[in-house]
Amino acid sequence: MTIRNPLRDHGQRYRPRIACLKKAEKVLLEMQDLKTGVKSQPQRLVITTIPHAITGEDIIAWLADRFQVDTQEARSFGSMLVALGYIYPLQDHKRLVIKPDASLYRFQTPYFWPTQQWPVEDTDYAIYLAKRNIRKKGILEVHEQEHYNRLHKWMNHKWDFIVMQAKEQYRAAKERKKPDRVVFDCQERAYWVVHRPPPGTVSAMDYGLDRLIDPNADEAKTPDFYARIMIFTQQSIMRPRVKSSVSLGALVKYCATYNNHDPFLSKCLPSNPWLTDDVTYWTLNMPYVEIPTKMRVERWTFSFAELLSDPRGRNDFRLFLKKEFSGENLAFWEGCEDLKWGEAATMREKAEHIYKTFLARGAPRWINIDGKTMEITVKGLKHPHRYVLDAAQTHIYMLMKKDSYGRYQKSPVFKETVKKAICPEEHHFTDAQLEQNAKKRRPSLSPIILRQMEQEQRAKMAANVDITQLCRFTTPVPHLAVYSGITDFPSANASPSLPFLAHSPACPSPISVALDSTSASERRVEAGEGEGEGNPAAQAPAGGNVSKSRMALSLQRLLKRGCTPATLFASLSPKCHSAAGTSSRIQPISPDQPSQAPPRRIGNFFQIKVDIPPECRIYPIESEDEDEENRAASRGGVGAKEIICPWESLTPQNGTG
């Protein structure tokens, strides 16, 4: 049904412009000119003669003369005109090429020219096939018969109409004189050879994907239109430029490297499924196949990105890293990818999970990134968005690429894989076998099944993850209570802060003894600790569970705040005894502690604002001073709506926040 509602219609149904059509039309009009065009002669048939037939060699000669090109090119040009449907061959009508001999061609009538505006309708094709059937039963070829059956199924509601129309067109054609009838039949047949080619032929009318916008419609010159053009040109100007020698060199290198691996440019083993309809190539190269092919394994050596993007390669790499006990890098990288490309709803949880698993001090699979990146990441995690872990991910990626990748290629794991990789034999199909293959074509696995397989794989991966691999950095470092403080803000209490300050240095002291790393950030932390500690200390914790008076509340908070690090790390730190001593101070509140500590704990290190402004601020990589300022500033303003993070296990508070 061609009735369309332009208002609510969002389908992509407009064919893209085929620019060559207009040009071909111009050439054709010149060609058919009686005086200056191609010489025409009558075609002699058994009973009659039909005028306006032209020979192939004449066409080629005329084109070569008109455009001043050599005959080979004129021949290709002529073949293109035939393939597009502007000229049709009278003999051998199924092969749309120009033969440079006396074989005859004729110009197609403008009604049957290929146009941009009107796509070729299946209804017309059905009518045409029905007409041919009427004329003589059984004349349809196999593919035409298949089309006919399919159309009968899909257009069943108008089938009566189609049959009736076919009959009427047939009867109307009989009214015409014989030669005209023959010409019309030839024209129509040629039209359908162009637009419904038999399978296995290349059609000149292949045009790719349909467009959303009608290219024939004139675009209204509204301010929006001009604004779009302006934005486009501005962005073009701002694009970074590369020297052409560099970019061309990169292109050449790419082509040289991948030339043998391209299934269309070079031989594809065992055989190219698009050409022979045999899907062995695809089954051998499934994403999670056991034994990869030699070509695939070779591609892994081209670049690290290739290795990671191939699921099988990634598995191999993961195996290697597991043997080297540095699997957390890859796991972190994969987690970041998942965050980047995953759903927005689960983004926050994913970010938290990744943080807890990989980045926090004392995390089970702590990854080694430098302090600056860590700061940026942690700061960004306050307002998590998709790309918050980008800096860390890039760092880890480079680390893997420079370090592990090289070792992987020399490792026994890889060598084993290379040895086991298969190199399939090439297929040699006869024509009959090719036809058989074409008949046996089946649709590939449904995307639903593929997704299920992928999820199973992922679940298997997750089940196998070795979280207990601790590296030397997993000792808990508690002094980063300051970071914890950042997230909650002291909406009040300048006055209580003074006495608090007196307490705060005391608390961390036993813990600071346990410190074994002295990164700059930590030093800074300690410097800022004094002022920082006081403010956060006064901050409200997980709201709702405190119903005491304000003063009591703040005191409680103070104590909790000031000493929580102590209590938390008490269980972990090897030097917990001294810490335990301080914990006595908080005994009065201890009954509350267990219930409140978990939520508060979370609130400390990782407070995620639920009232994040719609535009997520992306923290750029700033200088350290700015970091300080920002931290101080941000301490001042964030509201205190915390998220409960069910975090019970080893790593408690990590103040890398």
């Binding site: 049904m1 061609t2 009009l29 058919q32 000119d33 009686l34 075609q43 048939l45 058994v46 009973i47 009659t48 039909i50 005028p51 306006h52 037939a53 009278l90 003999q91 051998d92 009508h93 004729r106 110009f107 197609q108 009538t109 403008p110 009604y111 049957f112 505006q117 009107w118 309708e121 209804t123 029905a130 009427i134 004329r135 003589k136 004349i139 059956n149 069943n156 509601h157 108008k158 009566d160 109409f161 049959v163 009736m164 129309q165 009959k167 067109q169 047939y170 009867r171 109307a172 015409r176 004189k177 014989k178 030669p179 005209d180 009838r181 023959v182 010409v183 019309f184 039949d185 030839c186």
Partner: protein, 259 residues
């Protein structure tokens, strides 16, 4: 279509039967006109394009529009009638589908003719494509208009404003069709997936006397692989020869016998 055999004994359905039969006849004639229009449209821009052809096109178009307006009213009024019995409704819907499909075909043909006549103006007959056609479409137009003969005195002169006038008329007609199609869709909700056709999948061969044109076509093709038509024409020739030989033999026998 089995409509005509629908001799239900019920008196109250006789009236609607007539309605159906009427509707069917009108739709059939619209289909005929659309088919003829297509044949005529395929000549536009070719070497047989002439004022006469354009005139015939115009007349066919007018007839088609007239028919379609009347069918539209007829079918719309009946399909909006809620008290229509189920069997009648199904038949009506079939007619409706046939009608809308013919309208679409006509619409596309009209647009194509409009565009082609844009490119190929009759003033410049040199530019018309040498398609190999020799005769005009008069017979087809006669069939479309259901006239035994088309007696139009060809107008040798080309009035200056005729073409632009024709173009504007065509534009109006095309937009009228657009509106009619839109109206149809708005007023009557026929669910096309519910409509089932009655007819056979393959139309039966209308006549076997068309082997002559088939022979013409098959002579065009010199493909060795295209065996059946060639063989068929060969067989016809052989049969003809055989018949001639037989006749000659009989005659000679008669002559010998009677002399």
């Amino acid at each position: 279509m089995p409509l005509v055999n629908n001799k239900v004994g019920d008196d109250c359905t006789v009236g609607t039967d007539k309605v159906l039969v009427d509707g069917k006849a009108q739709v059939d004639s619209l289909i005929k006109v659309v088919a003829c229009y297509r044949h005529l449209a395929s000549c536009v821009g070719g070497c047989t394009d002439s004022l006469q052809l354009r005139d015939e096109l115009r007349q066919t178009r007018e007839k088609a529009l007239k028919l379609s307006v009347s069918i539209c009213n007829h079918l719309t009024s009946h399909l909006r009638n809620k008290s229509l019995p189920e069997g009648q409704r199904k038949e009506m819907e079939l007619l409706w589908v046939a009608f809308s499909s013919s309208l679409e075909l006509l619409h596309v043909d009209m647009c194509k003719v409009f565009n082609i006549s844009d490119i190929f103006s009759l003033a410049n007959t040199d530019a018309l494509v040498q398609t190999g056609l020799q005769g005009g479409g008069s017979e087809v137009a006669a069939r479309a208009l259901s006239l035994p003969d088309l007696n139009i005195a060809p107008n040798p002169t080309l009035p200056a404003g005729l073409e632009s006038q024709e173009r504007s008329t065509m534009e109006q007609e095309i937009s009228q069709m657009d509106r009619m199609i839109d109206d149809m869709e708005m007023k009557v909700n026929v669910m096309r997936w519910m409509v089932e056709s009655h007819g056979p999948q393959h139309a039966e061969a209308l006549s076997s006397s068309d082997s002559a044109s088939l022979a013409l076509l098959s002579v065009d093709e010199e493909q060795p692989g295209h065996q059946p038509p060639c063989q068929r024409s060969n067989i016809h020739v052989l049969l003809l020869l055989f018949a001639v030989v037989l006749v000659a033999a009989t005659l000679s026998v008669c002559i010998i016998f009677f002399t």
